[in-house]
Subunit: 343 residues, 2 copies
C-alpha cells in the first residue's frame, strides 16, 4: 500500500531534507531579510494549506512577521489583488501546479514582492514563477493522500524559522527530529485502537491549538479523504465559542496536545469533554493528560515548536487504520485525483 509505505518513509525523507536543504534555507532567509518584509503571505491549497498554517505560527513566533494565508480568489476571480510590494510571499504546493497558487506568486512578483516556492517539483510552474525555491526532495508521492510531502513541507518551514533566528539550538532540534519521527511510527498500534472506537462514527472533531492548529486541520483532512468521516478541525478556543454545543454522549473527539504551553487548558477541556461523555482520543507525551482519555496515544517528546511534525503521524495511522476497518482502500479515495487544479 503506497500510503503506508510513504508514512514509513518520513524519517528518511525529513532527514534528507534537513541535511540537504539547510544551506539553501539559509541563503533564502538572507535574501528575505535583505528584502525587509513587513509581512508574510502564504498561498496553498489542501494539505499544503495546512502546512501553511504551521508557517503562519512559525514566522510570527520566530521571524516576528505577521503572516496571512492568501485569499486566491481576490487574484483569480475578482482581479483585485492586495498590495504585496512589502510582502514575502510563499507558495506551497507538492506538484507546483495549482493555477491559483501560481497566480498569487506571479502577481506578488510583478508588484515587487519577494517570492519563494516550496515544492517537490523543480520543473513546475510554481518553481519557475518564484525568486527562490526550497525543494522538498520527498521522492515521488504515489498515494493520493499526502503524508510524506506534508511533513516535508513542515520541515521546510521549520528550516526557514531556524535559519531566521540563527539559533544553533533550533538547528540541533531539527537534526534530532527524524529519530523522534521514527519513534512516532510506533503509534500505529495505539492509533488502531482509537480507530476501533471510531469505526461506526460518521462525524467527529479534531482539536489542536497554537503550532498544532495545523495538525488538527491535517488530521481532519486525512479522515475526510480516507474514511469519509465528516471531521472538523478546531482550535480549542474556537471550539468553546459555539461548536462545543455539538458534544453529546459518545461524540468522538481527537485531541492533539503535545508540549507544555496548553497543558492546563487541555486538562480543563478534557474534563469538560468527559463531563459530557464525549469519546476522547488524546495524543500527548504527558502521561497525566493521557490518563484523562479513553484512548491515549503517547508521543515521543520533542521541542514544542517541532511537535506538529511528530504529532501528525498517529493521525495519519489513525486515518489509514480506520479506512481499513471500514473496508476502504486508502490508496483510492473516492473521486479524488493526485493533482487538483483550481482557480
Amino acid at each position: 500500500m503506497w500510503v503506508e509505505q510513504e508514512i514509513r518513509q518520513q524519517p528518511k525523507v525529513t532527514a534528507r531534507l534537513i541535511h540537504e536543504e539547510w544551506e539553501e534555507a539559509r541563503r533564502i532567509v538572507e535574501a528575505a531579510r535583505r528584502f525587509q518584509p513587513a509581512l508574510a503571505v502564504l498561498a496553498a491549497r489542501g494539505s499544503s494549506d495546512n502546512a501553511a498554517r504551521y508557517g503562519q505560527y512559525l514566522l510570527g513566533a520566530f521571524a516576528g512577521l505577521p503572516a496571512a494565508l492568501a485569499t486566491p480568489s481576490l487574484f483569480t476571480f475578482y482581479q483585485r489583488p492586495p498590495r504585496l510590494d512589502r510582502a514575502w510571499v510563499i507558495g506551497i504546493s507538492q506538484s507546483g501546479r495549482s493555477p491559483d497558487i501560481v497566480e498569487v506568486v506571479q502577481e506578488a512578483r510583478r508588484q515587487g514582492g519577494w517570492t519563494l516556492a516550496i515544492t517537490n517539483e523543480p520543473a513546475s510552474p510554481l518553481a519557475s514563477a518564484a525568486h527562490a525555491v526550497l525543494l522538498l526532495r520527498a521522492g515521488e508521492e504515489r498515494a493520493v493522500a499526502a503524508t510524506k510531502t506534508y511533513t516535508a513541507q513542515l520541515i521546510a518551514l521549520a528550516l526557514l524559522a531556524a535559519a531566521w533566528t540563527g539559533d544553533a539550538a533550533m538547528r540541533e532540534d531539527l537534526v534530532q527530529l527524524p529519530e523522534a519521527i521514527a519513534r512516532a511510527l510506533s503509534t500505529e498500534e495505539a492509533a488502531r485502537e482509537a480507530a476501533a472506537f471510531w469505526w461506526r462514527a460518521v462525524h467527529g472533531v479534531v482539536i489542536g491549538r497554537g503550532f498544532n492548529y495545523a495538525t488538527a486541520f491535517e488530521v481532519a483532512l486525512k479522515l475526510k479523504e480516507l474514511t469519509y468521516i465528516v471531521a472538523e478541525p478546531y482550535s480549542s478556543a474556537d471550539f468553546l465559542h459555539g461548536p462545543i454545543a455539538l458534544v453529546e454522549p459518545g461524540f468522538p473527539v481527537f485531541l492533539i496536545a503535545p508540549g507544555p504551553t496548553f497543558r492546563s487548558e487541555t486538562e480543563s477541556l478534557a474534563g469538560l469533554l468527559r463531563e459530557r461523555e464525549a469519546h476522547l482520543t488524546l495524543c500527548s507525551e504527558d502521561r497525566t493528560l493521557l490518563a484523562l482519555a479513553d484512548v491515549g496515544i503517547p508521543l515521543p517528546p520533542v521541542p514544542e515548536w517541532l511537535s506538529p511534525v511528530v504529532a501528525v503521524i498517529p493521525g495519519q495511522w489513525f486515518a489509514v487504520s480506520l479506512a481499513r476497518l471500514k473496508g476502504l482502500d486508502p490508496d483510492q479515495p473516492r473521486g479524488l485525483r493526485k493533482i487538483t487544479e483550481t482557480r
Copy 2:
C-alpha cells in the same frame, strides 16, 4: 423567541448603523490612511471571526491591504507576538470582552500599530484598548446565537471599505441595502422547506467562496450552535482538494452562490454534486442556478460585495427552522453562554 425577533430586527439595525456611523467610519479611515498601514490584522472569535473573514476580502479588494486573521495564541500563550508596528489591527467582538482579542489589540498598540475596535459595547475593555471605536448600535442581543450583531459587524466593515475608496456608488449601495435585507427576510419559507430535507441529517457541508466564504462559516456555525449538526464550511476550491470525497447519495450540501463572479464555477460544482446524488440547497438570485438545486432559495439581487449581508439571512432562518423541527429551543443552545472568555 429572541433569536427570531433579532433576525427580524436586521433591516432596522443595519439602516441605523449605515446612517449613524458613516461619518465616524470616514474619520476612522482618514486616520488609518494617515498611518499608512502595510497590512491589516483582524482579531476575533466565533461569529465575529466569520465577520473578520469578510473583512479580509473587503480590505484586500477595496483598500489594497493584505489582511491576516490574527493568531491570538502567539500573544497570549506563547508570548511571541509578531511585529505589528506597520499594521492596522482591528479587534471585533460583540461584547468587547474576549480577553485574547483585547490582548492582541493592546499589544499592537504598545508596538505602535494603529488599532480599531468594532463592538456593540462602548464601555468594554476592547473599546478602551483601541485608538478608535466603531459602534454596532445593534441594541442588546439576548439570543446566545449572534444574528443582528453579525450582520452589523459586516456592515461596519463595509462602511470602512466604502469610506476607503471614497466611491459614492458604494455608499449608495449601502444606503439601499437595508431594503434588500428586509426582502431577504421572506426567505423564511424556502429555508423551512430546505430544513425539512435536513432534519434527519447528522452532518453536512456549507459552501461559499470569495466574499461569501465568510457566509459559509457563519451558516455552518449557526447550524452547529442551534441544531447540533456537524456542518463544515468550505470554499468550493478547498472542497475539491479532498473533502469532495465525502459526498455520497443524499449527502446534504448548502451552497451559497450570489453574484456573477463564481457563476460558472457554481454551475459545474452543482453538476458534480448532482452526479454524486448529493442533496443540494442553493441560495442565489440567479434562476438558472436555482433550477439546478433540490431546494432553491432565491435571494434579492444586491451588488456582490454586499451580498454576504443578504445571503446569511436564509442561513439564519434555516438553522432556526431546523432547530424547531428537531424540537430544540433556538434560544437555549446546549452548553453555550452568550459571552465566552478564552485566552
